[in-house]
């Protein structure tokens, strides 16, 4: 190092010059970085594709296509945003070049300055001793272990992280069918109101009359709420604006001459519009008591209709359709088992044509099927006296069946804790392991429970517990692993509405319209109550911060006041 070049580098003037240049260049770089950060923020804010106000105006224009004022405002805002966006974009480009130049100047001057100020290196005191080598080797082993553990943790965390992401996406989900996306009556939202009082106007965002009556529940997709209504000779699908309650459209349904044949024995408790509509975010499908099936787009335009034959059902048809992938699946159980009239059918979502149809050895039943994935395969689970049956959604072939039901069955099955839970008032609650094939009656029953059995309300299962609610108000909690009773209470009122879980509370709506919110825990505890102001036999639909409930005559939107 003892050379002429180094002597020059060590000269005081040179040292100060390089240090000063490095400091000035460094300050310049920091200034440019700060300026770029600000400009980048402005650039992002003025991106016409992401601007919230512009998006809102576009949505508004979609609802009111002829509104010239909105058009003008969009044009004006779009022009100003674009001007700002491209101006800041140009500034970013210039700033990048300045930053590069500053970095080059800084790197050169800082390197030279570091060399100029560096102390001459000193010889090592001694070669590496044995202790030092041992320490280094030990530290090396520990470090390799630590890095390997970090990589292992990353390998395990990646699936967990993506699962969490999926759950977050699920939290954005909507209430697509009877009892929500999985048919389990569970909402991911924890911001829904825990109380309301329609008479006092507490937490009621809006209430609207539903023109034709029905016992179908609402289905929700973002800003649209779908519901069905029918009389003996009319059937309609309604779409309400989720925010304002304004009826966006109503569409009468008829599948031609076959629709005119009216079922004779529809009970008032069932109604001509008991099945809840199902939606996939593009279309909405509904089924009615006369066997009409309709598929509409989100603007109420008919995609297709067809009639599956008038159900020979002594209470009236109530099983709701479900949309599974590209198929609409309808469970049509009717008459008695020996009549051989029952079937389950998968219709092509796009044109209503039959993809597959499978006859069922069952009599009249009212449960809605659920789609699950268990034992590595997708299954459509159905319940009807006397069988719980799983079908392959691809071709409709039966996967397994288990004889566990008796009497008239209203409760729909649910899937939780690895078990399919099937129940009705005439037979015990049965926990089924869904990994069998063929008749699994003797092999796949995990446990059974035979007290407090519902005839209408579907079970609710979450967090290792199962809740049953009978029509006369016996509310029972079981442990899902053992099937043992945890607690039971008498709510002293009657219910047709199935229990739902949201924000840690179980929402129970009585036939008189009373709300009870109970804690979803191992002890019965009433958290809140409310009053709908009219009778209610339907199950609520939950969305972000809102609950949609169909009463006897109205559709209600429940939302925290001041929110």
């Amino acid at each position: 190092m003892n050379t002429r070049a180094d002597e020059l580098l060590k000269h005081r003037a040179w040292r100060q010059a390089t240090l000063g240049t490095a400091m000035v260049a460094g300050a310049f770089v920091l200034f440019v970085v700060a300026q770029l950060a600000v400009t980048w923020g402005l650039n992002r804010r003025s991106d016409p594709n992401e601007h919230p106000r512009l998006a809102g105006l576009r949505a508004e224009l979609a609802k009111q296509p002829g509104a010239e004022g909105i058009k003008q405002e969009i044009r004006h805002l779009d022009l100003s945003l674009r001007t700002e966006f491209f101006r800041s974009d140009e500034q970013l480009r210039t700033g990048a070049w300045l930053l590069l130049a500053g970095l080059v100047a800084f790197a050169i001057s800082a390197t030279l300055s570091a060399r100029a100020w560096a102390k001459p290196p000193m010889p090592a005191k001694r070669p590496a001793g044995s202790n030092e080598l041992q320490r280094t080797a030990l530290a090396g082993r520990c470090a390799v272990g630590a890095v390997a553990l970090l990589l292992a943790a990353a390998a395990l965390a990646v699936p967990a992280w993506t699962m969490k992401s999926a759950q977050q996406e699920k939290a954005e989900g909507v209430w697509t069918r009877f009892r929500g996306p999985r048919g389990g009556g569970i909402s991911p939202y924890d911001n829904v109101p825990s109380t309301f009082d329609v008479r006092a106007g507490l937490n009621v965002r809006w209430k609207k009359v539903v023109p034709l009556s029905g016992k179908s529940s609402p289905a929700v997709w973002n800003d649209r709420v779908f519901i069905t209504g029918a009389s003996k000779h009319m059937r309609e699908v309604y779409c309400f604006d989720a925010l304002s309650g304004r009826m966006l459209w109503r569409r009468p349904v008829s599948a031609g001459p076959a629709s005119a044949k009216v079922p004779e024995n529809v009970m008032e408790d069932t109604s001509y519009a008991a099945p809840t509509a199902a939606t996939d975010g593009k279309n909405v499908c509904a089924v009615f008591a006369n066997g009409d099936v309709v598929c509409l787009d989100f603007f109420g335009k008919e995609i297709w209709t067809r009639n599956l034959g008038t159900p020979d059902n002594f209470y009236g048809h109530a099983s709701s359709p479900i949309i599974f992938r590209d198929r609409v699946i309808v469970q049509m159980d009717q008459a008695d088992e020996e009549d051989g009239k029952s079937f389950i059918i998968a219709l092509d979502k796009t044109d209503g044509k039959t993809v597959w149809k499978t006859d069922r050895s069952a009599g009249s039943a009212w449960p809605t099927p659920i789609a699950i994935t268990a034992a590595g395969r997708e299954q459509i689970i159905t319940c009807a006296n006397p069988w719980a049956i799983a079908y392959d959604p691809g071709d409709g072939r039966e996967i397994w069946r288990l004889k566990c039901l008796a009497g008239d069955g209203g409760p729909s099955p649910v899937f939780a804790g690895g078990f399919v839970l099937a129940v009705n008032a005439g037979s015990p609650l049965t926990a089924i392991r869904p990994d069998g094939r063929g008749d699994v009656t003797k092999t796949h029953v995990a446990w059974q429970y035979d007290d407090g059995l519902p005839d209408t309300c579907s079970p609710l299962a979450a967090g290792g517990l199962v809740w049953l609610l009978t029509s006369d108000g016996i509310f029972t909690c079981l442990d899902i692993r053992s099937g043992k009773k945890v607690w039971e209470t008498d709510l002293d009122t009657s219910f047709y509405s199935s229990p739902s879980l949201a924000a840690g509370g179980i929402y129970l709506l009585s036939r008189k319209g009373g709300l009870i919110v109970a804690a979803a825990g191992r002890e019965y505890r009433k958290l809140a109550d409310g009053d709908l102001g009219e009778g209610c036999d339907t199950s609520p639909a939950f969305a972000d911060g809102r609950i949609y409930i169909r009463g006897k005559t109205h559709l209600f939107c429940i939302k925290e006041q001041g929110d």
């Binding site: 050379t3 390197t111 070669p127 989900g173 909507v174 997709w221």
Partner: protein, 431 residues
């Protein structure tokens, strides 16, 4: 000589898999029966330089760097070649084509339906062969990613040897992932996450610019962090360098064990002498070695299992798997709205079952690849542990065969080397 032959055979085997006939990279998309596929057109060949010019420049730069590092022992010469390479391969060519990314092209070309340009094959193979001959002179002065980190290195802070060795697992993991994703068609992650390409092109997403700037910021104080702790091609070059025929030495004369060269190396690539090790400690080292050898298969199996666990999540990198999962979530009502990709898929009228079937195939492949990758990383970890239990006797300060980047900084610190230069009438140190 045997090492050279072995190395050439390894490179030839890798290159052999890559060479194939020129074919369409992807089959044309299915856009429905009414859609008429337009006639395929090709952009005009770049006219400023003939196609082979990049290869010629690469070879020239490597030869020059090797000549400066090994023959002239000139740090200035190495630095100048590095600056020129940064200017051409970095800023003029925009960081592409580069040997680091070529790993993926070569890996993907194991599928005979995938074509690969001979320029890319050359960029993959030539630095490996050069490293077999001359050590890592490509890293020293030809790689633009290395050069840009080198020029901003102001005040190197030495990373302890034990930590440097352990962090060497990260590029192995990155290499494994990159190969799995390339072979299965999931994507070229090395190119997608190249931290410097945005700087070379002065464009790119804000995230990538921030990533590149962060690497440069770290490079002010830590010598070449990307090269040492992330570069997947560096893993291959490190292996080749261990077999190299000639390599940089701190001094061609007798080492006086002053230890000055250790101060010179910002990459921690200089190993101390260890000849005074006691026989008792050798016994303890043997016991550790035996335990490590017993542990190695367990590590490999555990690594494979972990890779398999990560497989389904890794599979989401594949566009088909991602689309299938998205469509599934949309149809189950677990997400709101649709995406351009899911809308486009529905427009094709293709059955979702077919999409799910395709996704299932890709998912299986990536899970299998993840298993192999996990086992491979664990194997390298086990080899590192074994290497820590085996001590080669060193009587002098030596540049590590695998990690020495042949930058030549140590030349100017070695008093023996300086005396030799004086005797031969040569000049002094270089920046």
């Amino acid at each position: 000589m045997m090492r050279l032959v072995a190395g050439v055979l390894v490179v030839a085997a890798l290159a052999g898999t890559a060479a194939g006939e020129e074919k369409f990279r992807y089959p044309p998309p299915e856009l429905g029966p009414d859609y008429v596929q337009p006639r395929t057109s090709f952009p005009a060949v770049r006219e400023t330089l003939p196609a082979g010019a990049d290869i010629a420049l690469l070879v020239t730069a490597i030869l020059l760097a090797s000549y400066f590092a090994l023959k002239l022992r000139s740090r200035l010469g190495v630095w100048c070649v590095g600056a020129a390479s940064l200017a051409y391969f970095g800023f003029i060519r925009g960081g592409c084509v580069c040997p680091i990314g070529s790993i993926q092209n070569v890996a993907a070309a194991m599928d005979p339906r995938v074509a690969i340009s001979m320029v890319v094959v050359a960029f993959f193979v030539i630095p490996l062969i050069a490293t077999l001959l001359f050590g890592r002179t490509f890293c020293a002065a030809v790689c633009p990613l290395g050069a840009i980190q080198d020029v901003v290195l102001v005040h190197p802070v030495r990373v302890p040897a034990w930590l440097t060795g352990a962090l060497g697992l990260l590029p192995v993991a990155y290499l494994s992932l990159a190969v799995v994703f390339a072979v299965t068609g999931a994507g070229y992650i090395i190119c997608r996450y190249d931290p410097f390409v945005s700087l070379f092109r002065l464009s790119g997403s804000a995230n990538m610019l921030i990533l590149g700037s962060s690497f440069l910021l770290i490079s002010l104080f830590v010598g070449r962090p990307y090269c040492r702790f992330l570069c997947p091609y560096g893993v291959l070059l490190g292996w080749m360098s261990r077999l190299s025929q000639w390599r940089v030495t701190i001094t061609p004369d007798e080492c006086v064990q002053c230890g000055l060269c250790e101060n010179a190396c910002p990459f921690g690539a200089i190993r101390k002498p260890n000849a005074d090790q006691l026989p008792r400690e050798r016994g303890a080292g043997r016991a550790t070695l035996i335990w490590t050898l017993i542990l190695a298969p367990v590590l490999v199996i555990a690594g494979g299992w972990l890779g398999r666990q990560a497989g389904p999540a890794m599979a989401r990198m594949h566009a088909t798997v991602w689309l299938a999962e998205r469509i599934e979530m949309e149809e189950d009502g677990r997400v709101k709205g649709t995406t351009d990709a899911s809308d486009a898929f529905r427009e094709t009228g293709r059955l979702t079952e077919a999409l799910y079937a395709d996704a299932s195939v890709y998912r299986s492949r990536i899970v299998f690849g993840g298993t192999l990758a996990g086992a491979f990383v664990a194997l390298i970890a086990a080899l590192k542990l074994i290497a820590l239990s085996v001590r080669r006797t060193r009587t002098d300060y030596e540049a590590d065969r695998g990690t020495c980047l042949a930058c030549g900084r140590c030349f100017d610190y070695c008093p023996v080397e300086l005396r030799r230069r004086k005797q031969r009438g040569k000049g002094g140190p270089i920046p």
